[in-house]
Amino acid sequence: MIKEDRKKQDLFWYVLVAILILIPFIPRVAANSFTQHVFILILLYASMSQAWNIIGGYCGQVSFGHSVFFGIGAYGAGMAIVKYGIVPWPGIVIGSLIATVVAVAISYPCFKLKGHYFAIATFAIVEIFNRLFMVWYWLNGALGLDYPMLKVGWKNFVWYKTKIPYYYGALILFVIIFGIVRFIERNRFGYYLKAVREDQETAEAVGINSAFIKLAAMALSAFLASFCGAFFVQYNFRVEPPMVMSLHVSMLFVLVTILGGVGTFFGPLLGAMILIPLQEYTRVYWGGLGSGVDLILFGFLIILIMVRQPKGIMGLINEFQNYRNRKRRRIISTEAEIN
């Protein structure tokens, strides 16, 4: 039965990816660069939130520090292009390795902390990094790194007139990160993550090295997050601390995941699908009025969703499935009665 379920899920997954690949061929999307922009952001934030989900959702360590890794990845790409004038790829790789090392270094002591203490500690770490990067002269400090005009193409990962390659870039990122998480989820590591989230003592009692598992999850999560950061900066041609390394950025990832459903595979995608268009379109249609009507509405809708369905959208879907199952069971039982 589980195998059948899995097959169904896999099929759904393949269909989803196929649809995503085909989306730019829909004329209306292809003609509208803002729609493309929204799509790219959805994929990017879904990927990023999924990366966060590894540690925050599956492993249950609510970290608000992921913008640090996001930012380091972004700075990796930015430094390679702006300071050294080379292609971004080595910068991305170095950036993500540094991000992983930083993640391990800062989370090793922090994992001693539980619950909210851990969350606040990661808050503090983001603020510290933000302020240090603001005055770090080598990284241009508060001035930020501005991209010069570059040759377009995959070599530089820069395009000016079109967004389709960015879309596919984001899609690759999305498929890789979601693929990794799917693989993890179904294997030993994923189960161990969940065990550590649910009860650390039990996990230890059945032979799980919970400290190692948490560190590994954090490292993986940071590694993937930094790639998203690099993509973000390649997309925006500019990197500065408030843009990539602030509490607001961290919050966004957490928000997307919570909204979709923490610790679920499709949660980040669903969350991004709701939150990003909401954010973008509210801004587009009411942002111009000034006076923050868009953000009032945005905030209100977030509250509304949370009040109505605290478990996120996946909670809603589960409820629906339960309802269907119950109905099915009812049908089966009535059939049995008849027979």
């Binding site: 709701i274 587009v284 249609y285 000034g290 109505r308």
Partner: protein, 502 residues
């Protein structure tokens, strides 16, 4: 009496609720139309978001038909179902999604003989104040251009519109002070809203990526008051900036110091710089340091602080300890008042205090700080006290004041200049062709009664070479011109009067 305040407060709250509701009224009408359509097409969620063509009647009817069908289904579903609670929950989610869809599918109106111009300012976030003022300034300028105002002594004011009846329509956008949003909004304005040009972005950090978008599109980007000198050093072809840069201001500050030393025997030698640690503040401070080094002054204190500070005790203490003769300040809004008040608490003042284009020029600063605001100095592009120098401003200012209740300040007036110059260039070029307009912009020297000096001309890179600002000093709540000497009206008060003698 004291209970009355509660009533007023309550009234305010209710009023605000109603206001918000009415600003959304349009949306509600729209959603009545599109909600049913979206219900059916929810699977095509993203297709709808891309400007679908519902304008043909047939399309609407088709959608309505399918809506009724689906409504029936829903009713049947509801009747069968016992779990209303679940329905409620799902309805909320669906509604939110629909809202997004609805918003996405709103159609823009089309009109003949219109030039769309986008504005891109920080309307929310920490510098929202400046952003809303800049937006209002642009609106005021457009009002002057679009309608006949023979009483206003500004080019294009007398006639209606430009190019024989073209009117300017503004499309406003908000970048919230974030560079990534600025870039996305600039792209949207050009590609979706099809604006002719963008005016913006106040924050230099946002102007940089947004103007790159314009450059790639080959469209004109008019920048009013972003002060980072680096913007015009990038060699962009379609980028124009009206305001003087930090660099100009810094050089002017040093000039003032030299003049004081020579003419007044002030003997000021050391400089302290206090600035918010953001793109803007850092730029200003860097230019300040460079100018000071060139002029042979010594920078003894370099004090960056985080904007939105809760207190500035240690910053002011640091300044006090180093005790520089002159302080260069780059603090915005609330930080500026906090800074001044903290200095008062600490009972310390430099001999002279020069401010960049910042909180110092905010027209409400004298209301907020009262006497404490006096004797500070700064570079000023415009202040109401300049009326005799710039007689044409008053009439435009009236339009502007109706919108935001304050007179122009040096920043916002530059945005108005940007629109006016662009309109003049289009008028003169006689075409909307970008290259022609750009060439015209570069080729001529423009009359601009709203700029100090009355002229605007561009050098390659887009900087307005005629941009200038004056050094003023707040005396008795008014901006008194003190430098350059030939335009000065008042003597500079030196050194600043200590707190306890005021």
């Amino acid at each position: 009496m004291k209970y009355g305040c509660f009533v007023i407060l309550l009234f305010q709250i209710i009023k605000s609720c109603i206001n918000i509701f009415f600003s959304l009224k349009e949306l509600f009408y729209l959603s009545y139309l599109i909600l049913p359509i979206s219900t059916v097409t929810i699977l095509n969620y993203y297709l709808i978001s891309a400007n679908f063509k519902l304008k043909t009647e047939g399309g609407v009817r088709k959608y309505y038909k399918s809506f009724y069908l689906s409504l029936e289904n829903i009713l049947i579903f509801l009747r069968r179902k016992t779990e209303v609670n679940f329905c409620k929950k799902i309805s909320v989610i669906v509604l939110t999604v629909l809202l997004a869809v609805t918003v996405a599918s709103g159609a823009a109106f089309a009109q003949e003989k219109v030039i769309k111009i986008g504005t891109l300012f920080p309307l929310t976030g920490s510098v929202a104040l400046a952003g809303t003022r800049c937006k209002a300034a642009v609106e005021a300028a457009v009002e002057v251009i679009n309608n006949a105002h023979p009483e206003i002594q500004v080019p294009l004011a007398g006639q209606e519109g430009i190019l024989d009846g073209y009117k300017i329509v503004l499309v406003h956008a908000d970048h919230q002070g974030k560079a990534d949003i600025a870039k996305a909004e600039a792209e949207r304005l050009f590609n979706q809203e099809k604006v002719y040009s963008i005016i913006g972005c106040y924050n230099s950090a946002c102007t940089a990526p947004a103007s790159l978008v314009a450059e790639r599109e080959g469209k004109i980007f008019m920048c009013g008051c972003s002060s980072s000198a680096a913007l015009t050093e990038r060699g962009l072809e379609y980028f124009f900036r009206m305001a003087p840069t930090d660099q100009t201001e810094s050089l002017e500050f040093c000039e003032v110091m030299e003049w004081m030393n020579e003419a007044k025997g002030a003997n000021v030698q050391t400089i302290g710089i206090i600035y918010e640690n953001t793109e803007f503040g850092k730029h200003a401070a860097d230019e300040g340091k460079a100018a000071a080094a060139a002029a042979g002054f010594e920078v003894v204190a370099d004090v960056p602080f985080s904007p939105g500070a809760t207190n500035m005790n240690s910053e002011v203490q640091t300044l006090k300890a180093k005790n520089p003769d002159v302080v260069f300040g780059a603090c915005l809004g609330g930080d500026y008042t906090l800074w001044v008040r903290t200095m008062k608490q600490m009972d310390w003042l430099p001999k002279m205090c020069l401010n960049y284009c910042t909180g110092y020029q905010d027209p409400v600063i004298t209301q907020q700080l009262g006497d404490d605001a006096n004797y500070f100095m700064g570079g000023t592009g415009y202040a109401p006290e300049f009326a005799e120098l710039m007689p044409a401003v008053a009439a435009v200012e009236k339009i502007y004041e109706d919108m935001v209740d304050v007179p122009f300040d040096s920043d916002s007036i530059q945005e108005a200049v940007a629109v006016l110059i662009l309109a003049q260039a289009i008028e003169k070029a006689g075409t909307l062709d970008y290259d022609a307009v750009r060439d015209t912009l570069y080729a001529n020297e423009w009359d601009s009664p709203l700029s100090m000096g009355g002229k605007v001309a561009f050098v390659p890179g887009g900087q307005n070479s005629k941009a200038m600002s004056m050094i003023t000093q707040l005396q008795g709540g008014e901006y008194k011109r003190v430098y350059p000497v030939d335009l000065a009206t008042d003597e500079v008060v030196f050194p600043m009067i200590p707190w306890n003698e005021r």
